[in-house]
Symmetry: C2
Subunit: 358 residues, 2 copies
C-alpha cells in the first residue's frame, strides 16, 4: 500500500524539482511499503510534482497491483534511457536518488533526457528524518530488544573465546528475542582492538583485564537499533582506563541532556567533544558524535560539526562519543534518542555504569 501521507510530505519538499526518481529500496519501502531488491537491475519510483507515482521495475520481479501506483515493466533487453524519456519531460529538473548508480545516471545525463539533474533524495531523506508515530513505536521496540540482547551478549564473554565466536552467536539470540536480522554486522572488540572504531570481529581471544566493546543492533519489522557498551573483563579498570571511561560517559550523558527541539546538531556534537577535549583526549575522538537511523542503520543526518541544522521533534539519532587511544584503551558508549519538544527520549536503558564481567 502506498503511504500517501509520506508521499505528500515528500512532494511538499520538492521545491523547483519537477519530478523525483528514487531508486533506493529503503526509500521505496518507506513510500510504498514493499521491499524490492532488484540486484544489479534498475528500480525507480518516479514521483511527479502533480502527485502521479510510477514504478519502473524489471519484469523478473513479481509485483502486486497497488492502488495509486502505475507499474512500468521493462525487460533486460529494453533500452532503459529511451523508456524513461516517455515519462520524463526534456524541460524538467529531475531530482535523482543520491544512491543512483553512475551506470544509470550517466546515460540520462549524456543523452540529455532532462534539463538538469540534481539531488532528489534530500526530499525523501528529510521526510524520513522525522519519524511518524508508527515508526517511533517500531524504533522503541527494536531498541528494547537490543537492551535485552546486550545483557545476553555480555554473558557470553569467557576467557579464551574469540571475538568471532562471540559475535557468531548474536543473530540467533536476536531472533529468539523477536528481531528478524542484524541492523549491521556486530562489532566485538577485545583489548586494544577496541581502539579501532571499525574493528571487525576476528580470532583475537579474550584475556583477563581486556576491555570488551560491543557495538550491536537488530532490525525489528524493518527498523534498526544500534547501541554500544564497553565492559571490563574480570579486572577493575586502572586509573587511566577509568578516567577515559568516565570522560566518554560524561560526553554521552551531557550530550543527551543537551538534546531538544531547535538545538543545532553541530552543537550537540560540540557538547560531547568539549568534554573529551577538556579531558585531554580530543585527538582520540576521531568521528562524528552520531548519525540518524530508522529503516537504515545510517540515514541522512549527522550529529557532527558539519551539520548546522537544528534538530526537529521526532528526529532519531545516535549519541556515540568514543576515545580511541592505541596505547591505553578504546571506549565508546552509544544510545539512540528521539528528539522531543522538551528534551529527548533515550531509547536504550542498558546502564552506563562501569561494569566488570566476572
Amino acid at each position: 500500500m502506498m503511504n500517501k501521507e509520506r508521499i505528500n510530505r515528500v512532494i511538499a519538499k520538492m521545491e523547483d524539482r519537477d519530478a523525483l526518481l528514487i531508486s533506493d529500496p529503503n526509500a521505496i519501502y518507506y513510500l510504498i511499503n514493499r521491499w524490492i531488491h532488484p540486484g544489479e537491475r534498475f528500480l525507480g519510483l518516479l514521483i511527479n510534482k502533480n502527485g502521479d507515482v510510477s514504478l519502473f521495475l524489471n519484469i523478473l520481479f513479481p509485483f502486486e497491483e497497488t492502488e495509486g501506483l502505475k507499474l512500468i515493466s521493462y525487460s533486460d533487453t529494453d533500452d532503459l534511457t529511451k523508456l524513461l524519456t516517455k515519462y520524463i519531460n526534456k524541460d524538467w529538473i529531475v531530482g535523482v536518488d543520491k544512491n543512483l548508480a553512475a551506470r544509470f545516471l550517466l546515460p540520462m545525463i549524456n543523452n540529455k533526457i532532462a534539463k538538469s539533474f540534481v539531488d532528489g533524495s534530500i526530499c525523501v531523506d528529510k521526510t524520513r528524518a522525522v519519524k511518524d508515530e508508527e515508526e517511533k513505536q517500531l524504533m522503541r521496540k527494536s531498541s528494547q530488544i537490543n537492551d535485552q540482547a546486550m545483557a545476553i551478549f555480555k554473558s557470553l564473554a569467557k576467557e579464551g573465546i574469540s571475538e568471532k565466536q562471540m559475535a557468531d552467536q548474536f543473530l540467533d539470540i536476536y531472533k529468539s528475542l523477536g528481531a528478524e536480522d542484524y541492523s549491521f554486522e556486530p562489532i566485538v572488540a577485545f583489548g586494544l582492538n577496541a581502539a579501532d572504531p571499525h574493528h571487525m570481529p576476528d580470532e583475537t581471544k579474550l584475556k583477563v583485564g581486556d576491555v570488551v566493546l560491543i557495538d550491536v543492533g537488530c532490525k525489528y519489522k524493518g527498523y534498526c537499533s544500534d547501541m554500544t557498551r564497553t565492559f571490563f573483563f574480570r579486572k577493575k579498570p586502572d586509573e587511566l582506563q577509568e578516567k577515559i571511561y568516565n570522560l566518554v560517559r560524561k560526553a554521552n550523558e551531557d550530550a543527551e541532556k543537551f538534546v531538544r527541539k531547535g538545538v543545532r546538531l553541530c552543537d550537540i556534537d560540540k557538547t560531547a567533544r568539549d568534554v573529551i577535549e577538556n579531558g585531554g583526549y580530543g585527538k582520540y575522538f576521531t568521528h562524528r558524535l552520531g548519525h540518524f537511523i530508522g529503516i537504515e542503520d545510517h540515514e541522512y543526518g549527522d550529529v557532527s560539526s558539519a551539520f548546522t541544522d537544528p534538530c526537529e521533534t521526532d528526529n532519531i539519532f545516535s549519541i556515540e562519543p568514543g576515545i580511541y587511544d592505541p596505547q591505553t584503551m578504546g571506549c565508546r558508549i552509544e544510545d539512540l534518542v528521539i528528539v522531543t519538544d522538551e528534551g529527548c527520549e533515550v531509547l536504550n536503558h542498558y546502564p552506563h555504569d562501569i561494569e566488570i564481567i566476572e
Copy 2:
C-alpha cells in the same frame, strides 16, 4: 599488495579516458588486494593513464602503506569535490565507476571538475571477465565445495520442514566445508514456489510430490560459486514434469557443449532458448541464460540475446536455463563454466539426472 599485472591490463583498455575513478570495493580488492568497506563514505581508486595510482580513503579506515599506491586521506568535514580537483585535471575525460553513487558524481559534474565523465568500469570489468590462473583455481575450489554442499543440502529435505528452516542450515555447512560465506542468499523453493525465479525461502512446508529447487553458492577466498538443481520429493515426476525437466536439462547441456572461445554469448543463449522454445515452453523461460561471476556472484557480462560479444578463453559464467510454468512446475539447472580454446570446463559435477529425494 597492488596487482600491477591487473592494473596494466586495465590501463591498456582505457582508450581516450585520461583517468579512472573506481569506487566499487570488489574492483578495488581485485586491483590492490585489500577489502575496504567504506559504508556510506566515499572510496575512490584513481588510476592515471601514466600508471600513477592513488586511493581516496576516509581517515576513519586504517590502511597499511602499500608500495606504488599513494594514499589520500580525508575526513568527514572535508569538501570531497574540492579535494578531487587537486588530482583530476579540468581537461580530462574521467571514467567513473558504474556504481559510483549520484551523491558523489553529481557535484563533480555540476562543478565541472573534468571535461567529461564516462563509464570507467568497463575497463576493469572487461579485465575481470578474463580470469587469471590464480582466479581459476579459486573458482574451481569454490564450485567443488558447492558440489559437496548440494549433496548435504538435499539430504535436509524432510516432510514438513520449511524452506527457511532448510536454508538456515546452509551457512554452517558451507563453513564446515571451508567456505567463508554465501555468495548470495540461498534460494530454496518447494512446489510451485519454484515457478518464481526469485523466490526467497519462506514458511512453506515440504509436501510429498513437491519439487525442491535449490539455487546456492558460497565464497571461497573471496570467489563465488553458483549452482542450481531441481529435485523431486518422494514421488516420481509425472509425464509433464518429466518433459519440462528434460527440456531444461537438454537446454543446459546443449548450451554447455556449444561454448568455446569465439562463440558469441547471444548464440549460447539462443542454443538453450531454442531447445525450450521448440519444446513449447519459450514463454516460461523469462530470464537470460547466464551471468559472469568471480569476486561477485553477478559480474559484468551476460549470456543473453543482448550480449553479442564473442566469449574469450578464461571467461567464467553460469549456464542456467529454466522453465517457470505457474500451473505445472518451476525448474532450473545451473552450472558454472570456464571457456577454453576448445570448449569449456564445467565447474560443477553434481549430476543432472532426475533425482527423487526419499
